[in-house]
Each structure stands twice: as C-alpha cells, then as structure tokens.
Amino acid sequence: DTAVSQTPKYLVTQMGNDKSIKCEQNLGHDTMYWYKQDSKKFLKIMFSYNNKELIINETVPNRFSPKSPDKAHLNLHINSLELGDSAVYFCASSYGGGLGETQYFGPGTRLLVL
C-alpha cells in the first residue's frame, strides 16, 4: 500500500497554463505539506495544513494555491505557470501538528514548464 501518493509523476506544460498536482495519504496523519526541490536539491517548504487548516504559508507566489478537501488530501493548484516553477514538488505528511515529527514523503512530481 502506498502511504503518500502524488499524481501525476511527471508534468510537462507550457508557460501560462494552469495545472494541479494531487496528493493523498492513507496514514491517518493530521498534517500535510508541500515542498519544492530545485535543481540544486534545495528542499523548501511551501505550505503546511493541519486538520485542513493552513498553518504554514511561506513566501510563495499567490499563483500557488493549496486546497485540502479533507485530512487525507492536499492538492496544489498552480496558475499561470512560469519557467521558474520547473522543479520537483513533494507532498509529505506527519502526525502531531508539524511539531518536528517524522514526515513521510511522496515520490514527487517532476514539473517542467516550457
């Protein structure tokens, strides 16, 4: 059974398009995250939701909008994609409100904006 799953695994799209990445966890965790990993492997947190409520929103352009329909899902919608959005996006989950507990990561979504 996949603990944290993301779809799609690969996403190639044109500048200006709108796209969504979906994330689901079946671990019963109450906190979910989105991270962006750039080409230099620097992993930066974007958002964190605890019990469907936003608790972390780092300096991310408002073209990025997370949506959490329930505790098991945290989707990422990106409007007006730009070249600089090309990266690998990881979803993760944990239990405990994000207080440094172990995070379980999805396999990543490789986004390439042309």
Partner: protein
C-alpha cells in the same frame, strides 16, 4: 533563512568504508532529523534526535548531536552500494516554529 547545512556536499567511498556527514545549524532547535533520498525518489526518514539527546543508533547508522556547537553528524558504518543516495538534515527551530528546514544535502556514492 536556511537553517541546516550539510557538509561535505559530495562524498565518494568504497564499499565497506564508513561515511560521515555533518550538519550545522544556526539557531536553537527542538529536534534534528536525517533523511535519505534515492535518485528520483522522495525522502525517507532515518533518525530523529531531540535537543536533549546526544547520540542515537539505528542499525548501521549513528547520529550525534552537539547543541553547543550547533552541529550533528551522521555516520554510516560498513557502507554498501545501496547506501548511495543524498542525505539531508532537517531542523525544527525552538520557539514554537512549525517550519522544518532542510539543508541542500550530501550526495554519497558508494562504489562496489
């Protein structure tokens, strides 16, 4: 600002040798975690060490934490080719921060 910084950026060793990676951070922390990332995959949690702990073991992994120096080390003993991966430290700053901060990782290559 970025919290954890791993050192070295890259490490190449032969199978059977030990591999040591270091992580330095800037502010007081609640805990520090080490993760492994195989090429093209997500991160996998290895060990969590809390600020009041000095050393933890898990199989061939040994993690130390020196809060006075604001540094941690990950030692992999008797390395195997399958240990080839990138290793990241993640810190959670004390003071109520909910933001885990990752470094850029150490890329480890273990030659068979």
């Amino acid at each position: 600002s970025q919290q954890g910084e791993e050192d070295p950026q890259a490490l190449s060793i032969q199978e059977g040798e030990n591999a040591t990676m270091n992580c330095s951070y800037k502010t007081s922390i609640n805990n520090l975690q080490w993760y492994r990332q195989n090429s093209g995959r997500g991160l996998v949690h290895l060990i969590l060490i809390r600020s009041n702990e000095r050393e933890k073991h898990s199989g061939r992994l040994r993690v130390t934490l020196d809060t006075s120096k604001k540094s941690s080390s990950l030692l992999i003993t008797a390395s195997r080719a399958a240990d080839t991966a990138s290793y990241f430290c993640a810190t959670l700053a004390s003071g109520g921060s909910y933001i885990p901060t990752f470094g850029r990782g150490t890329s480890l290559i273990v030659h068979p």
